[in-house]
């Protein structure tokens, strides 16, 4: 059962399927909303962890699901639910980061190594070894909020540009240029790197 749910959230559910649930939830069917919660909680938690300060992500998710339910009446029929929800999550996570103060510790960190036997990567390989992942996380954590969020949305949440704009509340035309600048700054930091990775 639990694993079945997991499969449902890993994939991208059909928008049509969401719309049916949303319509029913708007009519007051609590079970339909529960299905939406189940379907998107993974994405929501992930989003919150990318933005909220360490320890606040769960709260942000809870609050976001509550707010999303209340706002369901304003949800535009036929538009995708996932970015709409994740925008609410992102706002909640941001609010917590603001109240936690500037540069509160982020939850974002590289996982303990899950790939045994890393070989040294070839110079052009996109596959990172453990040390490189830790460096890259450190460099991303050091970026400004706006840069980090746009990178996280595009590559960690796998949102497309339009969805990224929705989730981050940006004009659609802004995402591409902001992402491009963020990637540039990230490369700058990496090439200027002389010290060990910041493992948080």
């Amino acid at each position: 059962m639990v694993y079945g749910l997991r499969l449902a959230v890993e994939g991208r559910p059909l928008v049509d399927d969401d719309n049916d649930l949303i319509t029913r939830a708007q009519r007051g069917e609590v079970m339909a909303y529960e299905s939406l919660v189940r379907r998107y909680q993974d994405a929501a938690v992930r989003t919150a962890y990318l933005i909220a300060p360490d320890g606040d992500a769960e709260d942000a998710v809870q609050e976001a699901f509550v707010k999303a339910y209340r706002a369901l009446g304003r949800f535009r029929d036929g538009s995708p639910f996932r970015p709409w929800l994740l925008r609410i999550v992102a706002n909640e996570a941001r609010n917590r980061r603001r109240s936690a103060g500037r540069r509160a510790g982020l939850a974002l960190r590289a996982a303990e190594d899950r790939r045994p036997g890393d070989a040294a990567p070839s110079p052009e390989s996109a596959v990172l070894d453990r040390e490189e992942r830790a460096w890259l996380v450190g460099a991303i954590n050091d970026l400004g909020d706006a840069d980090r969020e746009v990178i996280a949305a595009r590559y960690f949440l796998d949102l497309n540009e339009a969805e990224t704009a929705d989730v981050l509340g940006l004009p659609r035309g802004t995402v591409k240029s902001r992402l491009s600048r963020a990637l540039g700054r990230l490369r700058d930091r990496l090439s200027a790197t002389t010290e060990g990775p910041n493992r948080g």
Binding site: D56, E58, Y69, L108, R109, L128, W135, Y155, S191
Partner: protein, 308 residues
């Protein structure tokens, strides 16, 4: 040591792929997940929101402990089930509370009553108020209980006789033997075997926050986990360790609070009914007892010690 500066030199497509690769390896806990743990620091519950809502459980049935699961907030039963259970149960309560607040009607198996804090049940109609003149001074607009036997508005389950409750409960039902109290006015049992004894308010047994109700004794198949409900109390609620006939008990007073206990399978169970008064709780073996009344601590302990 790897030369991480190579990353800065990757072609765009490879750099983007590297970031996606990093994203897949980030230590973000999936829900449900078995790998990453959750911070215990996230279990705070908003007392204001909790106070706004009174959710009453009416015979949840065997699905009772699936509250979190039904909301998709459950984890596989793996490591650290207790703490996770608590985090998730709170999450479920928050979502449920909010959902209930927004919808304005009862969930299946749930009855929801709204009101900030201890708002008494409003008078439904003038005729009902006039029909029960005994409970309050005429000058005071004190609400009178709605029609029905004492406790019928609390969602306590099915009304039964004491003998029926004794036959159906999964534990021996005990009644206070205090002679001035007498037998309970009503007896209720719900789908998980919780038995509730209700006494109407009368001289010597003042009304609780629930008008007309003087004493509620709840007997639950489960035990108290003090760590749990201590976390759920807000600043205006105090908890005090007391001795109830040799058993460790807890006197919970002040603001209305929620109650949590652990069922026979070790799962935390939320009492979703808002308690109506100061509470004395204690466990004897596998059964937890709870007294709600307006008599104060010492009288509650004395009454509790007559239960057996």
């Amino acid at each position: 040591m790897a030369d991480v500066r190579r990353l800065a030199q990757l072609p765009d497509a490879a750099f983007e792929e590297a970031l996606r690769d990093l994203g897949r390896s980030l230590a973000v806990p999936a829900v449900p997940a078995s790998a990453a743990g959750l911070s215990a620091g996230t279990t705070a519950i908003d007392p204001a929101r909790r106070a706004r809502l009174r959710i009453e459980a009416a015979g949840f049935g065997p699905a009772r402990r699936g509250l979190a699961d039904r909301l998709g907030l459950g984890w596989p039963k793996s490591a650290r089930p207790m703490r996770r259970g608590l985090v998730l149960a709170i999450a479920a309560i928050l979502v449920l509370a909010a959902v209930a607040g927004a919808i304005g009607f009862g969930l299946p198996g749930l009855r929801i009553v709204f009101g900030p804090g201890p708002t008494p049940t409003p008078v439904l109609s003038p005729s009902i108020g006039a029909a029960s003149p005994s409970s309050s001074p005429a000058a005071s607009p004190t609400p009178t209980p709605t029609a029905g036997p004492p406790g019928s508005t609390l969602g306590l389950g099915r009304q039964v006789t004491l003998a029926e409750a004794t036959a159906q409960a999964p534990f021996p039902v005990a009644v206070p033997s205090d002679p001035t109290l007498g037998p309970p006015d009503t007896v209720w049992i719900d789908g998980v075997g919780r038995v509730t004894l209700v006494w109407a308010a009368k001289p010597g047994l003042p009304s609780t926050n629930e008008p007309g109700i003087g004493l509620i004794v709840t007997e639950l198949p489960g035990r108290i986990e003090p760590d749990y409900f201590q976390k759920l109390l807000n600043a205006q609620t105090t908890i005090e360790d007391v001795d109830v006939g040799g058993a460790a008990g807890y006197w919970i007073s002040g603001d209305p609070h929620q109650f949590i206990y652990v069922d026979a399978s070790g799962q935390p169970v939320f009492e979703t009914r808002r308690l109506v008064g100061d509470t004395l709780a204690w466990s004897v073996g596998p059964v937890t007892y709870r007294l709600e009344n307006a008599l104060g601590r010492d009288e509650s302990i004395r009454l509790a010690e007559t239960i057996g």
